[in-house]
Subunit: 181 residues, 4 copies
DNA sequence: CATGAATGAGCCTTCATTCAT
DNA sequence: AATGAATGAAGGCTCATTCAT
């Protein structure tokens, strides 16, 4: 899986062949098939693997006793920082997003669990009347997704985001999800 | 190009073969090559084609004499509506985003021009002190991107968004880009 | 046919497509098929065409009243010179030789006739006891073929042949076909 | 390579497809690509392979202590005989000649070495004043090339060469390269 | 368990030939 | 007679997957 991730990051989704993965991993082609059903399975498992790393990175340094705004801020910046990780889980984000995804219930419950800290943040915020009474998924799209989106554009050079703009974008996201009289 | 678009929407970027395109279009394989240099060229041209349709759909029923909020609202809902278009430009959005893109200056100027109404909206808003003084690109990510993102999730069934939620999301996006005392 | 010859000389046997020929000739693709049965026929006819030009070039400035040696010498040098012709019949020689050839009797009789001056030279030489009593075809291989072979190698740079060597080679060919007590 | 050689001999350079080679060799198409980079590489390697067989056949039964004329005679007849080899290296000669050739120095040195016996023959002959003082390459064209050329024509039926004629042609070639008073 | 040679369907692209205009 | 768009078989090559060792 490490090999696959590296190749995906370096060469993109095309040009990912099982023989390349095998060579990079230092094993024979056939060996892969003892641990993964087929290519699709490898990609699925990689998705899960990366997703849990992403979840870990997003929620690191966040504890449930921090103030809500503080938690949001930390997560938002964690997402931003993820793009610069040397050990590249998200550099792949571009690629990662279109990894084939299972759409099973199990999968959704897994994601639910991985991002429970995020959900807790949103639930508490709504309970306090601080956040808008929207579905967590929607709050996520409004409040956190833009961080990933901007980071990606920043990284690919489509758009330069300086520190001040980044801070303003963070605040704007907060504005999006909080109640305004 | 219509055939390509359909196949892209149905089967995704991978598994798009020239043979399939030809069959779907009801022509012989070789015929494609009379109108497109190669597969890459077909994809590039398709990108341009869709982009201009997207621009047209996003900005339809928007005129520069409408109030700012009204313009924003119309665009946001246009984006939302795009996902339901029978003749599917955005169903592909998921796929569309990773169509190979030329990154020439020309291309960027073209995009600039196609979305000039959007840019004008943002510029006026900033001039009036109504909108936050951020780069248009950033405002776009904060204010409009979530519409596409939610519509996509709604359509794929990952998330159900009722009319009230949609309205709330729209307002939240407006909150994100406007100044607050 | 002129177009075909040019393309053959420039790009070789591969990369000779009917559409290229048409474009070079300034006509539509289909037009070719009004004048030639198919590609093979075009090539056959081109072969004949070039062969007659070759015959003309080989035997130019040769008349039956010249001394035998003089005639031989002229032909040998004509062959050598052919390689340098601007209007390229033989530059193609490399390519020309593996143009598809019909092997009919007619064809052989045609060639017989085209090179009648050569045959007359050999017949007279044998009658006078000056040349070896061998089949004309064999005399041709021994006496004239080497000129083409050397010129080709000289032209492709495989081998440098200066004027003195060329003269010596000519004499050696004469030695090959003449009687030696 | 054996399959390629056979197909080349039977159907010529054009009309040699990797699929055909695979079928003839009794393997799958893809298998070829485990042993050869691509078609060009296959042809290059085949060229080398055949060339070394040709060199071996041309110089077999020739040792440096044999009289010069004897050596020449043996080689000349070896070349002639090559055309009749069941296991067909030279039947291809026609085709063989226009196999794509690398033109590297290495290649030339290899050829030099393969045919060193021929070069030695010519060098000794010139040293003794028996042969004309010409470049070895030229002597080769004058003295040995005609053997291949005649054999080829004989084999394709263009020309019938009986034993006596063959002997005379051999002598004529000797006349071509030797000094005369 | 691990190997890696072998497989063969499938991909992109070319091009000789046809035929409605 | 000329056109040139359309055809579709075939070509070179890749790669997910299998299986005998």
């Amino acid at each position: 899986m490490r090999a696959t991730e590296k190749l995906l990051a370096d060469y993109g989704f095309h040009g990912l062949s099982m023989q390349m993965v095998a060579r990079e991993a230092g094993v024979a082609t056939g060996t892969i098939y003892r641990y993964f059903e087929d290519k699709q399975d490898l990609l699925h498992q990689l998705y899960d693997h990366i997703l849990s790393r992403v979840a870990q990175l997003v929620t690191q340094n966040v504890t449930d006793d921090m103030p809500l705004k503080e938690r949001f801020r930390t997560m938002w910046l964690n997402i931003w920082a993820m793009a610069y990780q040397e050990d590249a889980p998200l550099i792949n984000r571009g690629q990662f997003e279109n990894l084939p995804r299972r759409n099973t219930l199990e999968q959704q419950q897994l994601e639910q669990k991985l991002f429970s800290k995020v959900h807790r943040l949103f639930e508490e915020g709504k309970a306090q009347g601080l956040l808008k009474p929207l579905d967590n998924e929607i709050l996520s799209v409004l409040g956190l997704e833009p961080s990933a989106c901007l980071a990606r554009k920043h990284l690919t050079g489509v758009l330069h985001v300086d520190e001040k703009s980044r801070e303003a974008a963070l605040e704007a996201c907060w504005d999006a999800i909080t109640q305004h009289d």
